[in-house]
Symmetry: C2
Subunit: 111 residues, 2 copies
């Protein structure tokens, strides 16, 4: 007997917001493929400034999707496993809710 129906779903908004930008999505993709990369490396291909990239990285970190590691004069960024797994579950939860709605809609239409 699900009490609330739409419980902690609200907390996922920041994660979606963080992923809701093409540049940020590219950074995430790069980190998925590249492991831990420095700001300079992540800036390499892009047409934007290093400072802009830094801002994006901090937005992603703010949503708990990344974390940084200082090594020498460079600052490496990598995916935050635990948080990512958590975000994934949120996405699944939403998808499940959507599936329910979908079924109801289809059942309604096909009647």
């Amino acid at each position: 007997m699900r009490k609330s129906g739409t419980p902690a779903l609200q907390k996922t908004a920041p994660v979606f917001a963080a992923l809701g930008d093409p540049t940020r999505l590219r950074l995430v993709a790069a980190l998925c493929a590249g492991g831990a990369l420095s700001i300079a490396q992540l800036t390499a291909g892009t047409a934007i400034t290093r400072q802009a990239v830094t801002k994006h990285l901090e937005v992603l970190a703010g949503a708990g999707l990344l974390h940084d590691i200082h090594r020498g004069r460079e600052r490496l960024w990598e995916l935050q496993p635990s948080r990512i797994d958590e975000a994934r579950r949120s996405l699944d939860a939403i998808a499940a809710q959507w599936d329910q709605a979908l079924q109801r809609l289809k059942a309604f239409v096909e009647t």
Copy 2:
């Protein structure tokens, strides 16, 4: 043999952006549970204006997540099944990518 690696992933940014707002997430949740609702109904609980709600609904519609139906003097909104399913698959794709990254990270750590 996935040719690009991060292909149409970029196209999902608008969807994430649309979901990246608490108010919008609430609207989606309400429509998941309530089927087709009018603007007035969707505005009911919220502290914001009807016009504000309308804007949010149009943002969601712009991302292809909703669509509207005019009935009499009211305008009903409901989830867009096909698009939602599509969005779900995008989310799964990202999650899969993340899982890969996760495994690599874990394998690296546990060595």
